[in-house]
């Protein structure tokens, strides 16, 4: 399946890319696995926020083909 991955703000600078496309055969793909496959990092800091299709989820959320998965730091608008 194909997954679109996005990184924002300090997360984009840390991983060194604004986005990525992931093609995997894993039917039990979680947000954490997406993070590991795209960044090569095993762990995901607990303060990092995750969104799938623009809705907040936790790291164990199962993703599907065509999903957009985003990783970003705590929000600081307003």
């Amino acid at each position: 399946m194909s997954i679109q991955v996005k990184f924002f703000a300090s997360m984009r600078e840390k991983v060194g890319m604004p986005d990525a496309e992931l093609d995997v055969a894993d039917s039990e793909m979680t947000a954490l696995k997406v993070w590991q496959a795209t960044t090569g990092q095993d762990t995901l800091d607990t303060n990092i926020l995750i969104a799938v299709n623009m809705e907040y989820v936790d790291k164990d959320h199962l993703v599907s083909s065509g999903d957009e998965v985003a990783f970003f730091p705590p929000v600081t608008g307003g």
Partner: protein, 150 residues
Amino acid sequence: MLIEVTNKAIDAWTIIKEYESSHDELAGVHGANVVFLGRMRDFNDSAAISEMELEHYPGMTEKYLESIADQAKQQWGILDLMIVHRVGQINLADTIVLVAVWAAHRAHAYEANQFIMEALKSKAPFWKKETLADGSTRWVEKNTPGKVQS
């Protein structure tokens, strides 16, 4: 209802005046209009700040602002509201965010306005990157509290 993310300067009072002019239905029925303006100040976290860059997640930001607005309308039964948020390059004293709420009574208008601001600050995907006086930059890692600390 107006929800907007813009990279242009926010002229709050003109936006509100024009909105009210084109929404005659608000005239005479609202007894309270609470307006909050968030502006860029020259210090944060003990450092002098000269300018700021505001980034957002196009699509998700608007979606969450709309969701927050719907929640406020349902919870406080307000008549109308407006959220305008700036992105891009921001200079000292610029308006970063405008939240306006129209309600029959002030209690609902005040409470809904504060709810919208606090929800926006904790949920809407915006990020600030500050430029310090020496030219270096840093990401803001957390927002200041919205309630007075006792």
